[in-house]
């Protein structure tokens, strides 16, 4: 896919949000305070939502903001404040030098592997014509192209997901219950 036909506006914002996402992620792993780290992660998720919109996945971008940045991160912040972990001084810090070295090596190996995969040739016959998804969105709206496969081909997976969510809710309630409350019943 050549960049020649893409407008400068698009390319500029794509790189801008990508770089913001990576910079926020770096700030996220280096913060000592869990609250600051969580807020940087929210920033990363917002940038990723912008990238999703630029990649013709507008509905996924909205869901990213609503579910990830709006719901999951609020639960994280809630737990941080419930356990009173907001102070940077008393929380656990980074691990020792050996761990950092090992993490750096693992990170470099992972990056090398994934860049090698980026170079891999994917069969051209599988690819849709250029801009096909954008045309589909223009013709059917933002939600219909995603909802169609979700409730037809992937209906079984969708139903299994509801069981997963029920199990997660029951598990969270059982785990979160105080031990002493068993006697109080």
């Amino acid at each position: 896919m050549s960049h020649g036909e893409l407008p400068l506006f698009y390319v500029f914002h794509f790189y801008l949000f990508g770089i913001i996402a990576i910079a926020s992620a770096l700030a996220f792993v280096t913060r000592k305070s869990p609250v600051a780290a969580a807020l940087w992660l929210v920033n990363t998720m917002f940038s990723l939502a912008a990238l999703f919109v630029l990649l013709d996945a507008q509905f996924i971008g909205v869901i990213q903001v609503l579910v990830y940045a709006g719901a999951i991160m609020v639960v994280f912040l809630f737990v941080i404040m419930l356990l009173n972990l907001g102070h940077a001084s008393e929380i656990a810090d980074a691990r020792g030098m050996g761990w950092k070295l090992a993490a750096g090596l693992v990170g470099l190996a992972l990056l090398a592997q994934m860049f090698a995969l980026t170079r891999a040739r994917v069969p051209e016959s599988l690819a849709l014509p250029y801009g096909a998804v954008a045309e589909q969105v223009a013709a059917q709206g933002v939600i219909a192209p995603v909802a169609g496969p979700l409730f037809n081909e992937y209906l079984l997976a969708f139903e299994v997901t509801s069981v997963l969510l029920l199990a997660a809710v029951v598990g969270a309630v059982v785990l979160g219950k105080r031990r002493g409350s068993a006697d109080a019943r």
């Binding site: 990213q64 356990l83 980074a94 994934m114 980026t118 994917v122 690819a127």
Partner: protein
């Protein structure tokens, strides 16, 4: 923009892995896992643009699993904190020989 998306995704995933390995605060380790899931979502969306919208459906499932995982994982962290009064992973060594 497939190659650029894969590049951003690879870098974000690696940052998540390095965070899991270098931090000792259980909540931050957990947030690093969420960052890795997000990086994978970016890959799915980028490929969905070239190979059809089915990739975007998978992002839904990844997000659902992430939400379930966050609920259960944070409940485990709360139970752990009640037991040990800390979320420092180096103090949680019950299975260490």
């Amino acid at each position: 923009m497939l190659a650029e998306s894969l590049f951003f995704s690879a870098v974000l995933f690696t940052i998540g892995v390095v965070g899991v390995l270098t931090r000792r605060n259980a909540i931050i380790v957990f947030m690093c896992v969420e960052l890795m899931l997000n990086a994978v979502n970016l890959t799915f969306v980028a490929f969905a643009r070239v190979y059809g919208v089915a990739g975007q459906v998978f992002v839904f499932f990844v997000m659902t699993v992430a939400a379930a995982e966050a609920a259960v994982g944070l409940a485990i962290i709360i139970a752990l904190f009640r037991h040990k009064q800390t979320v420092d992973l180096s103090n949680i060594n019950l299975l260490k020989g």
